[in-house]
């Protein structure tokens, strides 16, 4: 029975406790969201909170299993798992069922399983594996292309399932790449492009072009005196101005033709260009009322009226944060934010301590995915981001989502417990 003593050895209890705090807080919120005075048992499995209890117990079993497995197992089989996931994603496209407009579910008996949730874990493993295999002694050909392929393939397949939200999550891996030394200027350029896009939509392209032209004139004026010295810089600026102009002129086209109608509408509502409180803006409007009406201390457990009256769609899944905001107020919401930040920063700190590059990069992947989910999900409920249907980790109702985040996190916790070994 030596193994049994060993499985909890060296594991990071801060992470484990934060995890359980979030899961329990999540379950309480699901209970509040689904609460009906005439159904009293918390074990009622016809209700979401009853089912979630089963998922939580199953997650605990999953945790024990992961802690028993040698962490080398995951790094050794990274590519295999990744390949299986890709096959499942292709399979779901052909044989899957549609729930809420996305064809991303396998239905087995009464249960539905979403492979795209689990693909995140194994894509993360595959990225860590690939990047850690690159070093001075082992230069690979076209590393950027290959990494783009590893990330791009699941994005493409999930896009085809019509599940844009889940596909966007893979953008979180950019942070992992950034940490590993990719992108010197790309991040800056990307940020500029996004800001230009939004500002153009808000103010109109003519005005933006005028402002840019004004800046250009100013520059010219300033540089005129030392023309010879700054000749090169001047032409660079001219070039940037030309590229920006073309980009600004094409924003309308991208907005109208690349984005789908509902995505356009959500962005327009977010930017305040359109108000439609009964149509596409309904969710966000109702969700803001729910959270806003919570006030500083909240209305109290089970006392929320917005969530109880079913004003909010998907209130135990994507909009679960409303229940927190309404019943527990700013204090409750802040608690969640602090818990998530603690968890994520703790993961980064632990990742930096790893001797193995594989573990470090995997840890960054975990932190990035969790943060991406957390910020987008909470952001959309308070109108900071457009509505993208992705769950709040450990919180939202649903087995696939809870299990995948649990596995994701505990593979890392297990690796940390062996931080002195080179995995």
């Amino acid at each position: 029975m030596r193994r049994k003593e060993n499985i909890f050895k060296n594991i990071d209890w801060y992470l484990v406790i934060t995890y359980f705090l979030l899961v329990i807080f999540g379950w309480i919120s699901i209970y509040a969201a689904g609460y009906k005075p005439n159904v009293s048992s918390i074990f009622d499995i016809s209700q979401n909170y009853g089912k979630q209890l089963i998922w939580i117990v199953a997650s605990t079993v999953l945790i024990l299993i992961i802690l028993m497995i040698d962490p080398k197992f995951f790094s050794a089989l990274s590519y295999t798992f990744y390949a299986i996931c890709i096959l499942l994603l292709i399979g779901v496209l052909m044989f899957g069922s549609e729930i809420g407009g996305a064809k991303s579910w396998f239905k087995i008996g009464g249960f539905a399983m979403q492979p795209s949730e689990f693909t995140k874990i194994f894509t993360n493993l595959a990225i860590a594996k690939y990047l850690s295999s690159i070093n001075i002694n082992n230069k690979k050909k076209y590393p950027k292309l290959k990494i783009a392929f590893i990330i791009g393939l699941p994005i493409l397949l999930i896009f085809l399932q019509n599940d844009t939200g889940s596909a966007l999550v893979y953008l979180a891996f950019i942070i992992v790449l950034f940490r590993d030394g990719f992108f010197k200027n790309t991040i800056i350029i990307g940020t500029v492009l996004i800001i230009l896009f939004i500002v153009t939509l808000l103010l109109g392209k003519i005005l933006i072009l005028q402002i840019l032209a004004g800046l250009l004139l100013l520059m010219t004026f300033l540089l005129l005196k030392k023309y010879k010295k700054y000749k090169k810089t001047f032409f660079k600026i001219l070039g940037i101005f030309a590229i920006c102009s073309v980009y600004i002129l094409s924003v309308d086209y991208i907005f109208e033709n690349v984005l789908q109608y509902h995505q356009r509408t959500r962005i327009e509502i977010l930017l305040g260009k359109k108000t439609d409180p009964h149509g596409a803006g309904y969710n966000v409007n109702q969700s803001k009322i729910a959270i806003g009406s919570g006030g500083f201390t909240g209305k109290g457990f089970l006392k929320g009226t917005q969530t109880k009256y079913n004003f909010i769609p998907a209130q135990s899944t994507d909009f679960i944060f409303c229940t927190v905001g309404e019943d527990f107020g700013f204090i409750g919401a802040l608690t969640i934010i602090v818990l998530f930040l603690f968890l994520i920063i703790r993961i980064i700190i632990l990742a930096e301590r790893q001797r193995s590059k594989f573990s470090r990069l995997y840890g960054y992947g975990v932190a990035s995915i969790l943060f991406f989910h957390f910020s987008i999900n909470v952001g959309m409920t308070i109108g900071l981001f457009p509505v993208i249907g992705i769950p709040l980790p450990f919180f939202s109702y649903g087995g696939s989502s809870l299990w995948s985040f649990t596995i994701l996190l505990f593979i890392f916790i297990k690796q940390c417990s062996k931080k002195n070994e080179l995995i």
Partner: protein, 606 residues
């Protein structure tokens, strides 16, 4: 890669994370603590969405006389989880329901939802509304939802106007506009013009406190939407004529269809037995509906649209016109008749013989039209009997028979003009001829037509060869050209010159000594008509009459069918002439004829 430089990037990453988390926290702090617009009162006010039902569009007749309007009605709504300290006894006695009923209704609502409002009692009376309105504050969880019901100032034309009822699950599935408890047009005009009549619902969001008191609108009514009233319909119906026709048809089974021949506008469409449209609104609706549905005289059936009859002798003008067009007869062609001894079709009575086309129509001679039909089918110009029959059928179809028309008539039946294939199946290819299908010569046999199609036949003769599809609406709000009138126009395959002798014959039906309707000539009115008597295997013959008037400038074309009444001349002819007299002269002078018809009871006789 340079590990040392990249390691610094962890600060950038943590920095970005903290920055985004800070923005989220600030936004939360703003909407939860600073911005008061999201706050609901500390006493746990709730917002309630009240559907604003629009007034359904009004319906007028052709002279802008009001046929359907709205009256207010109130539904008592309940939100089960808001009920507290309810004095059940007082509440039940106020609504005049028993405690068992109360429990049943509450259970039903609870099953629907604890938090969403559902109808507890619909269409409460004005009196109850008055009481409840005053005491509503005592009954938390209950509130009043105003809406409108249909009202019929003149109780006429129920088949045509149709009725509204609650939407079914199927309706909700098909059109997302509808929510449970909404009303929808179920039949007639209400159904066909549902989209125009229904208007657009609005929503009013109000705040109420725990005592069910309204605390005002939410967010200064920023999210409220106004209901848009439905659009008004102007029917082609003449309410006075319709009402008169219904009076004439009292206690008789049958129908009257009157059409303005120049436009195809339906002036009156009567189906008898009828019922009071006011029966199908209000709380007793479903009870009354069931009674009507199971009534043995079937008052819910619209016979004018869906009744199928052989046209009988009223069809003879069609065969005459085809004969003339195909040049197998001329207006002067004479055939002889031996009265009841004629073969192969007996004639009903002795009359002058031989006789020409005009006389044949006047006396409705069976032998003459057998000969016409025989000449059409045996026309040597065609290769075979079958080809000649197909040509004959094409002519008949051009009269609008076997068709549902392309106007706005609803649940109409097309009737039947048997195809050559049909006879091939029955008798075998090449084994049938004019004699086999001789019944068609006098409008009997397999041919089936609706009263609307018969009125349309009268229209075609009045117009000498064309018709506009019969329709019921001439304007919606102030848009008068709803129809592209040219699209409704249909031209028959008969040249207008061929109509002259037929019209003369139909004129003689009233004017000449042997005319089958000479007893019902109206002074100073030139009416052209044709009687029909349809053999009915189930009882007394049906009496049919088609007519139009005045002869030289037709203003009304009409068909009348009275079931189980015997000869066409006894019931259908006088009803037709009374309708024409009423429409053209506005008053009826032949009071004795009118009285006999109104008093006539053909239903209890059977």
């Amino acid at each position: 890669m340079n590990r040392q430089t990249n390691s610094n990037r962890k600060f950038i990453i943590i920095g970005i994370f903290l920055f985004i988390a800070l923005i989220i926290t600030l936004k939360l702090f703003y909407i939860q603590v600073i911005d008061k617009s999201y706050k609901l009162d500390a006493s746990n006010n709730v917002i309630r969405h009240i559907r604003q039902y629009p007034a359904r569009g009004l319906v007028f007749d052709r002279n802008e006389k009001l046929l359907i309007c709205n009256k207010p009605s109130y539904d008592l709504m309940v939100i089960p989880n808001q009920i507290s300290n309810l004095d059940t006894n007082e509440f039940c006695s106020l609504l005049n329901i028993s405690k068992e009923q109360f429990i049943e209704k509450i259970e039903k609502s609870k099953n629907y939802s604890f938090y969403k409002p559902s109808v507890f009692e619909n269409q409460i009376s004005n009196k109850t509304f008055g009481y409840i309105q005053e005491k509503l504050f005592k009954f938390s969880g209950f509130f009043i939802q105003p809406r409108t019901l249909r009202d019929y100032p003149i109780a006429i034309a129920p088949h045509l106007l149709g009725y509204v009822g609650e939407v079914t699950n199927n309706d909700i599935k098909q059109d997302k506009y509808y929510k449970s408890g909404d009303y929808i047009g179920k039949s007639g005009i209400e159904n066909i013009y549902e989209k125009e009549l229904r208007g657009k619902k609005g929503v009013k969001i109000i705040l109420v406190d725990v005592h069910n008191r309204e605390k005002g609108s939410f967010n200064n009514a920023r999210y409220d939407t106004l209901a848009e009233a439905g659009r008004n319909l102007y029917l082609t119906i003449d309410a006075e004529l319709q009402e008169y026709g219904e009076k004439l048809m009292l206690n008789k089974k049958g129908s009257i269809v009157a059409i303005q021949p120049k436009t195809g506008e339906i002036l009156a469409m009567i189906s008898s037995p009828s019922y009071d449209p006011n029966l199908l609104i209000g709380k007793e609706r479903s009870k009354n509906y069931n009674n009507l549905l199971h009534d043995s005289i079937k008052p819910l059936i619209n016979r004018a649209n869906t009744g199928l009859y052989p046209p009988g002798s009223a069809f003879k003008p069609v065969n005459a016109l085809i004969g003339l067009q195909e040049k197998v007869i001329s207006p002067n062609t004479k055939f002889s008749c031996q009265g009841p001894e004629s073969t192969p079709i007996k004639c009903t009575h002795y009359h002058i013989s031989p006789l020409n086309l005009r006389q044949a129509i006047e006396v409705s001679c069976n032998s003459y039209f057998w000969n016409v039909f025989k000449n059409i089918i045996n026309n040597p110009g065609y290769n075979s009997v079958r080809d000649a029959y197909c040509a004959w059928r094409e002519y008949v179809l051009s009269f609008g028979f076997n068709s549902k028309f392309n106007g706005d008539l609803f649940s109409i039946r097309s009737g039947n003009v048997p195809s050559a294939d049909y006879y091939d199946r029955i008798y075998g290819k090449g084994h049938w001829n004019a004699l086999t299908i001789r019944s068609l010569a006098i409008g009997q046999g397999e041919i089936l037509v609706t009263p609307v199609q018969l009125a349309n036949l009268a229209t075609i003769i009045a117009n000498k060869g064309y018709y506009y599809s019969p329709h019921l609406v001439w304007a919606i709000d102030n848009i008068y050209n709803k129809y592209n009138i040219d699209k409704l126009k249909h031209i028959t395959k008969i040249d207008s010159v061929n109509f002259e002798p037929v019209i003369q014959g139909m004129y003689d039906v009233f004017e000449k000594s042997e005319g089958t309707a000479k007893w019902y000539k109206v002074k100073d009115l030139s009416i052209c008509g044709k009687t029909g008597t349809v053999q009915n295997p189930h009882g007394k013959d049906h009496s049919i009459f088609i007519a139009f008037a005045p002869k030289d400038n037709p203003q009304i074309a009409i068909s009348v069918i009275v079931e189980n009444s015997g000869f066409g001349s006894t019931w259908a002819a006088p009803i037709t002439t009374l309708m024409i007299e009423k429409y053209l002269n506005k008053t009826v002078k032949r009071k004795n004829v009118e009285q006999r018809i109104i008093d006539g009871n053909l239903i209890s006789e059977n």
